[in-house]
C-alpha cells in the first residue's frame, strides 16, 4: 500500500502480513496486507484493528475491527461509544456510508479516524495531535510503527523505477509490445484514467497509475481519490495537501514531475 506518514513522507511498501501503524499511550492500530495478485510483491489492506486504550474517567478500552466486506459501525462489543463512564460520548463511531465509510471521533484525545472500503480493500486515515503521537510508553520500539517512521527500507517498492519501466514498455506508434497490466492498462491509459479523478500530477496521482498498472483494478483510482479527499479533511496544513516528491526513496536527479 501507499503510506503517508505523520511527517508527510510518502512511500509505497510491500509490508505483507500484519504491521503496526500506531502504538502510543492512547491508541494502537494494526493493518493486515495481502498480495493483490498471486506472486506479486504489491499488497493492499484487507484487515484493520484499532484499540482505543482505557482513558481516565472518559472511555473504557474499545476495540474496532474491519475486514474486507465487513466494515462495521460499532466496536467488537457491539457498542458505538466509549462505554459507561461520564465521558463515554467523547468516543463514538459514525456510519457515513453503510459498508463503505466509517468515521471514528475520539474527542478526548483530539483524534479523528476515517476507514473506507474501496473495491476489495480498506483505506485508513487519521488526524491526531502531534504531542500524543509521540507519547509512546516504550521508547525503544518506536521505530516499528509505520505512521511514525515509515516502512523499513527492505519493505519499500521503488515506485519510480517501476514507472520508468512501464513508460518504456509503452508501444511506440505501430509497435507491437504487449501492455503492462493484465487487465489491459497501458501507462498511457492508466494515466488518462487517473487524471479523471486526480487532475494534479502529485503522488496520489502517481500511486493511482502504479496501482492500475500492477492490478488493472479501476477501484484503486477511487482509493487514491478518497485518500486525497481524507487528506483535505484531516490534514491541518493546506499547503501540504499535495506531495510532489517521494521523500522516502528518491535518488539524486530523479525527481517527480511537477504540477
Amino acid at each position: 500500500p501507499h503510506l503517508r506518514t505523520f511527517s508527510d513522507i510518502f512511500q509505497t511498501c510491500k509490508v505483507k502480513g500484519a504491521w503496526p501503524l500506531i502504538d502510543n499511550k492512547y491508541l494502537y492500530v494494526q493493518v493486515t496486507n495481502s498480495p493483490v495478485l498471486p506472486q506479486s510483491t504489491a499488497t493492499a489492506t484487507s484487515k484493520l484493528t484499532i484499540i482505543f486504550k482505557n482513558f481516565q474517567e472518559c472511555v473504557d478500552q474499545k476495540v474496532y475491527q474491519a475486514e474486507t466486506d465487513e466494515l462495521p459501525a460499532a466496536f467488537v462489543d457491539g457498542s458505538k461509544n466509549g462505554g459507561d463512564r461520564h465521558g463515554a460520548n467523547t468516543l463514538r463511531i459514525l456510519e457515513k456510508a453503510p459498508g463503505q465509510h466509517v468515521e471514528i471521533q475520539a474527542r478526548y484525545i483530539g483524534t479523528t479516524i476515517v476507514i473506507r472500503q474501496v473495491g476489495r480493500y480498506l483505506t485508513f486515515a487519521i488526524r491526531m495531535p502531534e504531542e500524543l503521537v509521540h507519547s509512546t510508553e516504550d521508547k525503544e520500539s518506536q521505530g516499528l510503527y509505520l505512521c511514525l517512521r515509515g516502512c523499513p527500507l527492505s519493505e519499500r517498492i521503488d515506485f519510480r523505477t517501476f514507472r520508468a519501466k512501464a513508460a518504456e514498455n509503452e508501444p511506440a506508434i505501430g509497435g507491437s509490445r504487449p501492455p503492462v497490466s493484465a487487465e489491459g492498462f497501458t501507462y498511457e491509459s492508466a494515466t488518462a484514467k487517473c487524471k479523471e479523478r486526480l487532475p494534479v500530477e502529485d503522488l496520489y496521482f502517481q500511486s493511482c497509475v502504479f496501482d492500475l498498472l500492477t492490478t488493472g483494478d479501476v477501484n484503486f483510482t477511487m482509493a487514491a481519490y478518497y485518500a486525497f479527499e481524507d487528506v483535505k479533511m484531516l490534514h491541518s496544513n493546506k499547503e501540504k495537501f499535495h506531495i510532489f516528491e517521494r521523500t522516502g526513496d528518491l535518488t539524486p536527479g530523479n525527481s517527480a514531475p511537477g504540477r
Binding site: 505523520f6 474517567e57 461520564h86 474527542r107 478526548y108 488526524r127 502531534e130 484503486f220 484531516l234
Partner: protein, 122 residues
Amino acid sequence: CKILKCNAEFWTATSVSHNSGTEEASEHCTALRAYAHCVRRTARTCRGDLAYHSAVHGIEDLMSQHNCSKEGPTSQPRTRTSLLSLPDSQERSDGPEICHYERSFHKHSAPPNYTHCGLFGD
C-alpha cells in the same frame, strides 16, 4: 482528587427541589447514586484523602437512611439544575473537561498542532 467537585454537585442537586413526599425521596436517591458514581470515578486519585473517605461513608449512611437502592437512575446534577437554559447543554453534558482534548488543552497553552497519517491502494 476531585472529591470537592462531587460534593458540590450533590449539594447543588439536592438544595433546589420544588417537589415533596415520594417524588423528593426519589430525587434524593437519584442524586445520591450520581454522587456515588462521581466518587467512584475519583477513587484512584483520592486514595488516602480524608474528604474522599468521609464522602464514601457519608453516601452509604445517606443511602441507608433514605432507603435508596444502589441500582437505578443517576442524575447529572449540573444538567438538572443549571444547564437546561444553556444552548450548549449537549456539549457540556457529555463528559468532564478532561474528556475534551481541545478544551482542556486550550486552558494550558496554544492550540495543538495536528498531524496526519494515511494508508491506501496497493
